[in-house]
Symmetry: C2
Subunit: 576 residues, 2 copies
């Protein structure tokens, strides 16, 4: 396992450090050993190769800004460390040579060597480039300082990453150039992120990822924007609505550029209520089976809102979409205005037929729950692709491109895909799986919470939750069990805020919003504990799988097994 190897590398730190100042060839040797968890009898190049693959995808989440990616590594790490104080900062070693920034800057490619600086140290990371989890992106820092990158991807700021870096140290940056760097460097890229509601449960601060307490979720058919789950990949960009421009490319008429005002006034405003769900919702249940990579979401990385905006279809038609384009175009790509230090923006794409269909209901939304989009949800314009995984609902939308190809972004190509439980980071081939678009049937229990108790004297228990399916498939039934799935009862479904005036049934294939559900059942007299289970069915009669293990996947996405909570029946009255 990759993350175990982190631990191994730490235990070897002392041994390896004795031989670490020998220039790049020694560094290469160190690096090879660093990734090898076995004896030197084994072929190091083979290790290099296979671990390289593991690394490339294993920590792709670093680039994706998923702050919890290394949580598992830290866990192993802590178990093994004896004295961490000495590695909290990288010590300067007086016998290393001093380099000027100019010298560092001359090492910007593999031929000349790849050097970087970090807090005054100079590092030759040439050998590390091929095994960098984030791939070639590391070359963008070549000849310069790591600090601005690591400010963006805060997960790098962990001890074992610093330890790995220390292996590559070749010198010190001159004092003069260090001063210059400090003056250039630079504010926290997340400093202008908005203030968030304190009730949110934060999975990652930078970038900001948080979910509401589950029990609040089923209290509101329309989730209030403040507690709608937040899933940012990068810092929230500051967008001036007056100068905002949306560019539509790839069509015969050239680039169409729209101001916010034009988007609002030149196209009819459509309103839909649609549930968005992160691909990683309920990932924590997969983590209990075996560690996966990604934010440790509970059951509340899903929320429901009313969105208002122009239809993407209308904008594409205005930009020149027609039968000629339909001949070759297959995808519509989106680029956000949120970007990393290299200028790379968040990006994703959806199939063209979803984008152009009248029944696809894809919006370029500028309103959420009747108000301007909040900053965390894409102000001033985001894509809302109802029925489709959250990751394609690109926020802070800057560019739309009609194309024959999917988005080339990391998040479309090497993330947000599902794999067999047999696939690990050494064997995964991201090209072999389709990008997640429509999500499968999902449901979860929001109350009671796991591990709580109900009073015997109350004689009954009320169970509440949500249910939703992707692709506009309507939830038609939720089955609830109090005995772990032996017997079932059918829950009451709620498809609007006001149950007395239910919404009309959605048109076929356009059921974009979740259903909340509820069941009240007598407490079984002979039980001390309930194992409450829910499973939903959509109108294609897709069902949730019974258990998590067989759908486990290395990235922890698509976690939609029956949701189970255990609740004790307290014989005495509980003080509330």
């Amino acid at each position: 396992m990759l993350l175990v190897r982190y631990g191994h590398s730490l235990t070897r730190f002392g041994r390896l450090s004795a031989q670490r100042h020998g220039g790049s060839s020694a560094v290469a040797s160190c690096a090879a050993r660093l990734w090898s968890s076995n004896s030197s009898n084994q072929d190091q190049r083979w290790h290099h190769h296979t671990h390289g693959n593991s690394w490339k995808y294993g920590l792709a989440g670093l680039i994706a800004g998923t702050g919890a990616v290394l949580a598992g590594g830290l866990h192993y790490h802590k178990a093994e460390r004896a004295d961490t104080s000495r590695v909290r900062t990288i010590e300067k070693t007086s016998d290393l040579p001093i380099f000027s920034q100019e010298e560092v800057s001359s090492h910007r490619c593999l031929e000349d060597g790849v050097w970087v600086t970090y807090k005054g140290g100079v590092y030759d990371i040439t050998e590390f480039v091929s095994i960098h989890p984030g791939g070639d992106k590391i070359l963008l820092a070549a000849g310069g300082d790591l600090e601005p990158f690591w400010a963006l991807y805060a997960v790098h700021k962990q001890e074992h990453v610093l330890e790995m870096l220390s292996e590559y140290k070749v010198g010190e940056l001159s004092a003069q150039d260090q001063k210059k760097q400090q003056s250039v460097q630079s504010s926290d890229p997340y400093s202008s992120d908005p203030t968030r509601h304190p009730v949110l449960r934060v999975n990652s601060l930078k970038p900001f990822n948080a979910e509401p307490p589950p029990e609040l979720l089923a209290d509101n058919y329309i989730t209030p924007s403040a507690i709608f789950f937040k899933r940012n990949h990068l810092p929230v960009p500051q967008v001036d609505p007056a100068s905002y421009q949306l560019h539509v490319e790839g069509l015969t008429g050239g680039v169409l550029t729209l101001s916010l005002e034009e988007l609002k006034t030149k196209f009819p405003k459509h309103t839909i209520t649609a549930t968005l769900q992160c691909a990683g919702n309920r990932r924590s249940e997969m983590n209990k089976i075996k560690q996966v990579k990604g934010l440790n979401w509970g059951i509340a990385a899903i929320s429901n809102a009313t969105w208002g905006g122009a239809r993407l279809r209308d904008v594409l038609l205005a930009a020149g979409y027609g039968p000629d384009v339909a001949q070759w175009a297959r995808h519509v790509q989106f680029e956000g205005l949120d970007k990393d230090v290299t200028g790379t923006t968040y990006g994703a794409s959806i199939p063209l037929n979803k984008a152009i269909s009248e029944e696809g209901d894809v919006l370029l939304a500028y309103e959420m729950n009747g108000k301007d989009l909040p900053a965390d949800h894409g102000y001033p314009v985001r894509v809302v692709v109802p029925g489709t995984v959250g990751a394609r609902n690109v926020k802070w939308l800057g560019k739309i491109r009609v194309s024959g190809e999917e988005s080339s972004s990391h998040w479309q190509q090497n993330d947000y895909k599902g794999f067999s439980p047999a696939t690990d980071w050494d064997t995964v081939d991201f090209k072999s799986a389709p990008a997640i678009q429509e999500l499968p049937i999902q449901s979860a229990i929001t109350t009671p919470a796991d591990g709580t108790a109900v009073c015997r004297s109350s004689e009954e228990v009320t169970v509440k939750g949500y249910a939703w399916s992707g692709g506009g498939r309507e939830v038609v039934r939720v089955d609830v069990s109090l005995d772990g799935g032996k017997t079932w009862q059918v829950a009451t479904l709620k498809s609007s805020e006001d149950t007395d005036t239910p919404e009309p049934s959605p048109l076929p294939g356009r059921a974009w919003a979740w259903k909340l559900w509820e069941v009240t059942a007598p407490l079984p007299p002979d039980s001390q504990e309930l194992e409450i289970v829910c499973k939903a069915v959509d109108n294609s009669y897709n069902m949730q799988p019974d258990t998590v293990g067989p759908i486990w996947n290395l990235r922890g996405v698509l976690s939609n097994a029956w949701h189970r909570v255990k609740v004790k029946i307290a014989e005495d009255v509980i003080e509330e």
Copy 2:
């Protein structure tokens, strides 16, 4: 249980027969007792009511022509009977009055009493009407003879049904009228059914329902028409292609009538390869959990063919479909030319958006695998609704009707729907569930067969099967386990006859054809038995549920849990 009560009625036959000749009030009393399995202390009316509900749906399959509906009843029956020879025919009792056909014919409604004849006996079934499994349809036989109805629904011809009928006997038909009846009566309505391939495994002869041996299924990507599963609800109609007419109703331009020639020449011919699956495929696995009603299908009520015909969309547009119709129309209904003795045709409907969408690919097919449709598959024209349950792919198509409502047919309203495992025939409300349209993800193992053995000396095992999902969702992965689901491997998928020249990927949402799959794996050295399991994933990442029990439903439809077969590893060489 309903079917147990059949058995009970038999054991009471002697006792009840003593009081059965007292006219309609006595018959009513007998009838009430007949349905009561408990003592006379209980409220008979209550029993009447609740069992009535159970009856109405419980044997709805009789009308649907599902020959195996009563299989469970027979099972119980046999266990209880001592001497069945005396009930094989209904004996004539000389002390009963003689009635003329004219007198019988005067009893045709509940007010006047409902009388029928059967093999020379006269029966007052007034009290039975409300509890007839097939509902009011029984009134169509009122005042006449049961024989032609029972010829159509052969499941009536079972001893316990005859016993029930005997309770209602009130007289004998005059010898003269018996002779008249015999001269009118009449050929077997199934006598003109086509000859079928002997390799088919017959689940019901009349109507004909049969599936191929599973091991043949995965041998051909395109299933040969002769072994394509057959699922008829009624006798195969004889249709003269020269006089055939297709009527399209419900549109502004009036009725459009097309000859076969016009259908073939006035509309472009489209060809699609699409898998059809019966809603009851794999029902036998549900029967192992708890008896369900319906034909006991194995895993082969699914097949794949290439269909050629006119697009339904094109025909609807030619018939006057336009934006005005789109305002109110929601469904497209189909009527077959296959009919029962009352003239009621087979019928079904699909949502309008599926019918009219360019991407829906709904065909009015006149070709199957490059030739005219075979008689069993709807000659001369059938609907092919790719991605949708077999039942909506109406054969021997006579009429198309655009409507605001679904088809009112039994098969749309009170059959082919899914329910919770908690729902039984006493509580089922067919209005509460949507008609099955798109089917969920499915897969099964075609070889090796359950209960067979593989030789240890062969060192490896090859597992083959099929996988398919409804709604045009493409199968993207099949996971196979040899150890009951503990560990998995990914199968190789095959999406054309010739693996060397694979078909191009289907467009999104238009993957209508199955994938065959195969995996060859070493035999685990320490096992004596393999529990081989498969599960498929579609591109909405829907998964199959782990186990059958929690998706069990009273009608035994939508059986798509992981497929499991047990195979022994034979240590000695097996003679082949």
